[in-house]
């Protein structure tokens, strides 16, 4: 039995009269990658926003390691080990790669009262920033200015920052969006490596990538879970074919 890190129970979110998510159940286990699929407007972003604390749920609860964290805000969730990357690249564009990751690492030992400490020379924080940069495959590019790098590199940096916070649960919102095929393939390899000792939720449109790396897939349609299971189950599910894959397939025929 794998260790369930993050469990979402009956998550519901309404915006006025619109129900963006309704009774969504999700379980993220250590060592697995759980993909969230669904057409545009299915409620994937709302779901990931509720898990990261950017949006409070209207109903339902979220458990991390058995503890209820529903009431924690986004920065508190980061502190307990939930890291998130964003669909639209969300970095510090004028800082170097190293400073982006160093700030992320510093968040684990903030010590704002230590006014005599030279922040950019703190060996512990630097070591963790460098480790995260290496793990995300950006070694050698530490001193590049983040905003001047390629889109793919910025997506890697986004993940490096999450890693520098020592997150055990990674919520990755379309990390492959806008990437070329080479960059995509590299990112898929990176995701496979990251999965080994963490729990990952992947929101992604790239079907090939999802079926290549996901251990579990949950398909969301109209804010509700249509189907959840391993990739084979999803691929064979008549409901999914009807609602999603079949529809998309029909477009191409």
């Amino acid at each position: 039995m794998r260790e369930a890190l993050l469990v979402a129970e009956k998550l519901t979110r309404r915006f006025g009269g619109l129900t963006a998510n309704s009774n969504v159940n999700l379980t993220l286990e250590r060592g697995t990658l759980h993909a969230l699929l669904g057409p545009n407007g299915a409620g994937k972003s709302t779901c990931i926003n509720m898990l990261s604390g950017d949006l409070p749920p209207s109903e339902g609860r979220i458990l991390l390691g058995g503890k209820d964290i529903t009431g924690l805000s986004n920065h508190q969730r980061s502190r307990v080990g939930i890291g998130r990357s964003y669909q639209r690249t969300n970095i510090f564009p004028k800082f170097s790669v190293l400073e982006n990751c160093r700030l992320a690492a510093q968040s684990r030992r903030q010590q704002p009262w230590r006014v005599f400490k030279d922040a950019v020379r703190d060996p512990d924080t630097l070591a963790r920033a460098h480790a995260a940069i290496a793990e995300a495959g950006l070694a050698g590019r530490e001193h590049r200015i983040a905003g001047q790098m390629s889109h793919g590199e910025q997506r890697q940096l986004e993940i490096a920052m999450v890693l520098a916070t020592d997150a055990q649960v990674l919520l990755l919102d379309e990390p492959l969006a806008g990437m070329g095929s080479d960059e995509s393939a590299q990112m898929v390899e990176l995701l496979k490596r990251l999965r080994e000792n963490r729990a990952i939720l992947l929101v992604e449109h790239d079907m090939d990538a999802v079926f290549a790396v996901a251990d579990t897939i949950t398909v969301l349609v109209n804010g509700q879970v249509l189907e959840s299971g391993d990739p084979d189950t999803i691929r064979k599910s008549p409901a999914v074919q009807q609602a999603y894959l079949g529809h998309e397939g029909a477009d191409h025929v």
């Binding site: 990261s52 950017d54 805000s73 986004n74 920065h75 508190q76 980061s78 502190r79 998130r84 964003y86 969300n90 970095i91 510090f92 564009p93 004028k94 800082f95 400073e99 160093r102 700030l103 992320a104 510093q106 968040s107 684990r108 903030q110 010590q111 704002p112 009262w113 230590r114 006014v115 005599f116 400490k117 030279d118 922040a119 950019v120 703190d122 920052m161 916070t165």
Partner: protein
Amino acid sequence: MNPTSQRLILPLLLAALLAFPSFGSDFYVELVAKTLVLAIFAMSLDLLVGFTGLVSFGHAAYFGIAAYAVAMITPKYDPASLWLALPAAIIAAGLAAFVIGLFVLRTKGIYFIMVTLAFAQMVFFLFHDTNLGGGSDGVNINFKPDAAIAGWAPFDLNEPGQLYYFIVAALVAVYGVLKLVLRSPFGRVLIGIRSNEHRMLSLGYATFYYKLAAFTLAGALAGVAGFLYAVLSGFVTPELLAWHQSGNVLLMVILGGMGNLVGAIAGAFAFTAMQEAFGAWTKHWQLAMGLAIVAAVLFLPGGLSAIPARLKRAMTGEEK
């Protein structure tokens, strides 16, 4: 300015400031002293505007509160102790900034600008319309604070020359405190907040408390300037807290180049110099000043502190 040229230029500037009283006339020594006080004020605002991305349009409130604190703590026929009056002024300003910060930091962008202005105007009318500090006439400070510790006085603020050096020392101290803070983990977080506050939140920083601490520190340091202003001029009026004053200090920061402490000092000097030059030339000096500021913002983005880099680019013929 890059760090190496700063390391060369700063000691030279300090030496010039220290040597100035030996060849400047009394009038100019006092004018420079007043400008240095405004430079401290501008640096304190730059911590918010330039480094944290919080455009406060009510920074004069903390400057004025500290000045009034000196007036209120000074007995009518005796001097107050410097070692009581200075901390009292700093704490009064810092405390006011802390309390006001609790409210204003819940807003962002244009709302933050408006709400800081609104609070500062409240403080202005508190002093203007009540007898708390002499009403709209203001109040005299008959005696400058006394630096004596148990009968021994290391210096005397009644001596214009010694007061000048005291102000230079305060400028160096405030510059040093800000440099230290900006280098520390706390300061790096502030700079991160300016760049991308949402990302700082998702990285686990409770940015509200960081901003509150920065707002309080900026208020306390504005208090140092307010204290020195009150001691230097010997007279405190509600105008010190008025929105003109908040606007002037914001212009100094913008003129000098936001996010650069030396720039803030340069901005204070440029502002005073323009005020003096245009004032001597025409009585409509504010019109000329306005045009000069518009020109500076249009043709010198990045402010005075961007000049060295621009010169370097021009001389080496490098493209931007």
